[in-house]
């Protein structure tokens, strides 16, 4: 069964977790991703499972190198996430997390657009519980906003798929392109989940509001399913190069000033997605390899960073950079593991980001996209600045916060999960051959040569020098208790405000309408009073009296008619 439907292990696991408890539940949670990964290992590229339903040709499972790569990745991410969350006793989160991971696996093996749509929506409805599980007023409203965006993306996908299929293309999910009927709808549906600029605010809104463990799952799946879908449906689409470049650059400005450290990581997640989107847009074999390889490494290092911040949140209950600091004294292991993640996302040689990001950058330069290349270099320096330095610096160093006295290392399972992530970061970075062998194309790319290592080290060392100088000179913006406006302001503030203003403008109109209606009612009442009131023509006798009169009239009439 595992070979015929790879998502079954995680989805069945979620169902069993819902009805089990204690150590049995823990065992099921650990076993489900491992069994699922075993199932992926058994899959043969080229396998296709098809059936007919109501005249539609459906392909619930289609196996190729691309889907296998993501299949491994999602099971790996689910396993690390499960280990990380073993200490919590919250059935809702456990079920949601496994079902969410299962939906992601189902989506990347979906061979037709309808199956993809089903898992697309399942991703939305399962993941929202990881936000709601925080059980606060904020998480409820954030969760609802998140759900509206996610389900909306699914509706666009369905509309696009119907249009696409009704134009005679069938439902098969392969290259779609923007020129296909419904292509733009599907593109935007993918774009919402991939965090395209202006469509990204659900991500920076919801991810930092989820539970410490929930964010680890959230950062792994939804956006990577979108990257997979873009790589499958829209490789080589030029507009993606522009979109990806903007995605790589604009979030780093927000990340520098943002106070909530998990929101900083959410912005840097969009920045990393930008690199992948650029790779898909360039569309050469090297670029596509780079995009999916970066998706792979990003899940692990971003997961590691989210886990380290989750550990800080778990221990201190605080996530604002302005309130944290000095925690290296009490959480040295977490601090070191966080710095491994930071080195990986910054693409230090020997860490995982280096072996994947460099493929996209190399592809940009080979294809002659000079501006894009310069922008990606800027983004690469910027990511070191905000994710590589800012995150560990403000959480673990900077000034001593009030939490230093009481802080301690997080539970063992959290440390184990972070160590697993860190090992993978260093392992992939030092021995990239294994990851490269899983990639869809064989390009012969090798990241380790003197020029490349030296130029990357120069870029990073001088970025760090810039941070140090700005910090020592007092130019670096301090962490402030604040929020910063982003696109979500439009629907959280501007639209409600506009509605309220409009209502206030309408109020006088509404009042005069109501006054006129009241006058009309008054006129009707007085007319009725005139005819039926005390001295009205129709009110001179009691109803019983008038009844008797009318009965007498009718009897007399019938008598007259009878004798006539």
């Amino acid at each position: 069964m595992l070979e015929s439907w790879p998502a079954v292990a995680l989805l069945l696991g979620a169902a069993l977790v819902a009805v089990s408890r204690g150590q049995v539940r823990m065992l099921i949670m650990l076993a489900a991703p491992l069994l699922g990964a075993w199932g992926v290992y058994q899959l043969e590229p080229g396998t296709v499972i098809e059936f007919q339903m109501m005249g539609l040709q459906l392909t619930p499972v289609r196996v190729d190198k691309l889907s296998i790569l993501f299949g491994y990745l999602f099971h790996l991410a689910a396993f690390i996430g499960v280990v990380y969350s073993l200490h919590i006793k919250d059935r809702m989160q456990d079920v949601a997390a496994l079902a969410y991971a299962g939906s992601a696996v189902g989506a990347v093996f979906a061979g037709d657009l309808l199956t993809l749509f089903v898992f697309w929506e399942l991703l939305a409805v399962t993941s929202v519980f990881l936000v709601l599980a925080r059980r606060s007023k904020h998480s409820l409203s954030t969760g609802m906003r998140y759900l509206v965006m996610q389900v909306g993306s699914g509706v666009l996908l369905l509309a696009g798929a119907i249009w696409y299929a009704s134009a005679g293309n069938g439902l098969t999910f392969d290259y779609i392109g923007l020129d296909a009927p419904g292509g733009w709808l599907i593109f935007i549906a993918f774009g919402i989940k991939a965090g395209f600029p202006l469509l990204h605010s659900w991500l920076t809104d919801a991810y930092p509001e989820a539970t410490p463990t929930g964010t680890v799952f959230l950062s792994a799946f939804t956006t990577k399913v979108a990257i997979y879908s873009l790589a499958r449906g829209f490789p080589g689409t030029d507009v993606l190069i522009v979109i990806g470049t903007v995605m790589a650059c604009f979030p780093i400005f927000f990340a520098v000033i943002e106070n909530d450290l998990r929101r900083v990581l959410a912005y840097s997640l969009i920045n990393q997605l930008g690199f992948m989107v650029v790779g898909i847009g360039i569309g050469t074999q090297l670029a596509l390899n780079g995009a999916v390889a970066h998706a792979f490494t990003d899940v692990i290092f971003k997961g590691l960073l989210m886990m380290s911040m989750g550990a800080v949140l778990h221990v201190t209950g605080e996530m604002r950079g302005s309130e944290l600091g000095g925690l290296y004294k009490k959480m040295p292991k977490t601090a070191i593991l966080c710095m491994v993640g930071a080195a990986s996302i910054s693409a230090f040689p020997l860490f995982s980001g280096f072996v994947s990001k460099s493929m996209v950058v190399a592809a940009a330069i080979h294809e002659g996209h000079t501006v894009v290349w310069l922008a990606l270099l800027f983004a690469a320096a910027g990511v070191f600045h905000h994710a590589g330095i800012k995150i560990p610096f403000f959480a673990f160093f900077a000034h001593d916060s009030r939490y230093v006295d009481t802080a301690h290392e997080p539970p063992v399972n959290m440390l184990v999960a972070m160590s697993l992530g860190a090992l993978l970061c260093v392992g992939i970075g030092s021995f990239p051959g294994l990851l490269y062998s899983l990639l869809p194309y064989d390009t012969g790319f090798w990241p380790y040569d003197v020029s490349h290592v030296l130029s990357q080290l120069q870029l990073l060392a001088f970025s760090a020098l810039a941070f140090t100088w700005l910090k020592l000179a007092g130019i670096y913006p301090p962490e402030l208790k604040s929020v910063h406006l982003d696109v979500d302001w439009v629907y959280r503030r501007w639209v409600p405000q506009a509605i309220q203003t409009a209502l206030e403008r309408l109020a006088p109109v509404d009042r005069s309408l109501r006054d006129k209606s009241l006058a009309l009612v008054d006129a009707t009442l007085s007319m009725l009073a005139r005819h039926h009131g005390s001295y009205g023509l129709l009110a001179r006798s009691w109803p019983t009296g008038s009844m008797v009169i009318w009965v007498a009239v009718m009897l007399g009439l019938s008598l007259a008619l009878y004798y006539a």
Binding site: L459, F462, S463, V483, Q497
Partner: protein, 99 residues
């Protein structure tokens, strides 16, 4: 616990902080110095310039921070900004003119 409080940690000593900064500056000097010795393969003519990546990294980060500071002036709000009730655009219209 009280003994713990008196324990001094690595960066409580300002000399260690200075060492880290000096180490970073030293690394930067060595890395840019290597540009004189190592011939880097280049795919783009600008890459061949002496210290291109070093200068680009430094300037990019300084510009990033300076621009972000300007951006903050426009975008920053109080922490509870989204928790507040909406301010009325036209407060007088809330009052009942008939009253």
């Amino acid at each position: 616990m009280s003994a713990d409080k008196q324990k001094t940690y690595l960066f409580d000593n300002p000399r260690n902080v200075r060492r880290v900064v000096l180490g970073l500056v030293g690394a930067c000097v060595i890395l840019i110095g290597l540009d004189l010795v190592v011939h880097r393969h280049v795919s783009h003519p600008w890459e061949a310039m002496f210290g291109f990546y070093a200068v680009y990294g430094f300037v990019a980060c300084v510009l990033l921070v300076l621009l972000a500071k300007e951006m903050r002036k426009v975008l920053i709000r109080k922490e509870d900004y989204y928790d507040e009730t909406l301010p009325s655009a036209n407060p007088s219209s809330r009052e009942d003119p008939r009253a």
